[in-house]
Symmetry: D2
Subunit: 141 residues, 4 copies
């Protein structure tokens, strides 16, 4: 990246301008470090599926955005970084509260950036509700 680390504020401004649905989904950035990001999905009855579980699609969306933010923290604000693939395993139902996703970059290559995302209920950081891994392709990599 150019000069200096990507700040949480610059990232939020960029996401707001370029990915309006993130705000609509109730997803916000809690923390942005060097190589990791923590995002929150606000509980909303709109995203429920049978069993009052939070819909898997919304958890995958959260995981993908969290990894995107973690990667931008490493490579800088390159919007055209795109997901190559993502796999997620759902481990426990997400029920009745906010969800946090912690994405971490495990390898930043010239072309491929890879990482993992751990999802848990905001009020219980010990119980994983889902675990994802994902590789992204850098533009002009």
């Amino acid at each position: 990246m150019g000069e200096g680390r990507l700040t949480k504020e610059a990232l939020e401004q960029f996401i707001k301008a370029q990915c309006p649905c993130v705000e609509e989904f109730g997803i916000t950035c809690e923390e942005l470090g060097s190589g990791y990001a923590v995002l929150r999905l606000r509980y909303d009855e709109r995203w429920l599926r049978p069993g009052k579980y939070i819909f898997g699609g919304m958890l995958m969306t959260l995981a993908d955005i969290a990894m995107y933010c973690a990667i931008l923290s490493v490579i800088g604000l390159k919007p055209m970084t795109v997901t190559n693939e993502l796999k997620i395993n759902f481990l426990r139902p997400a029920v009745g509260g906010d969800v946090l996703a912690r994405a971490e970059v495990l390898k930043a290559g010239r072309r491929i950036v890879y990482g993992e995302i751990r999802l848990f209920m905001a009020d219980d950081a010990k119980k994983l509700i889902a675990h994802a891994t994902s590789s992204y392709i850098q533009p002009d990599g």
Copy 2:
């Protein structure tokens, strides 16, 4: 399942009542067969990410719902069937139009049901834009 095959109408009614966000996302069922389902994601500028690509999270959501429908066509209306894992590879940008997802069950076991989902632009059935595979867990399996 009980008596008779799950009809598209019964499925739509169930989804509308139990998963309200599906309608909000602009996702509808185009076709429901025995072991497969075709769903459509209506183009909406709300779901764009940088590059005017349709957001990966929305495509994963579409893939997951399509597989859920395909599975219910085989095992009947068991709402508590849940995703165990899903992997998706993004092959081409989804740009400027509706997206179709065709989910097909490849193996329906007593406990695990597995299938694949192919996503393409509605106006070009030849170009895969994404490919997903997913295993689901049957309730009381």
Copy 3:
């Protein structure tokens, strides 16, 4: 690739020279087309796990080699093409006979080549025993 399509004979010669374990595993190329390859794993009691199932590791190895061959049929003999990721779902036990793997390229991009691999018992092409998807990275892509 340079001049002309990769032939099955040239591929076999290359594999024999560069990947000696393929022969040791009892894996051979049955068919090589433009964008696909069919490989065979000869039944061998050495590769059994509890239940007399063929060991999952050997099936993953077969899937990976089959995709490598299918990709080389498209991009030519570029040995340094490497696996980025591979996911496999095991659908039925592989028991008592040879296994065939049919790998097909679904998207050949400049940097990433993606495809799927279907594994079945050689004497029953209808019953999938495993299904894999995989992305490879082209050298100098």
Copy 4:
């Protein structure tokens, strides 16, 4: 499991009797804890692919066996526990030495057990060479 934890010695004896190829591949158990296992793949020129990289198939085999051992450390010696799916991302070439795989159970459910496996060169525990996640199905789960 019956009475008491599965010991490394009992596991080794079981693997030797039931999965003879593990020894042939040069794979041994270094450490077995409650919910994790560390396995070693001895360097062997037989397992090389172009570039003198250790063959991906052998690394997938190592990852799968490591997870199997980690799971048995939790649920006891249930040989018919089988892999449902495994995804692996290759992050760096494995070159010129032994490889270690550390598998850890992240969720042990009644039917599905899930975990992750980290692979690195034995002489450099800091550089991940591959990362896998996998779900297993318990017998009679």
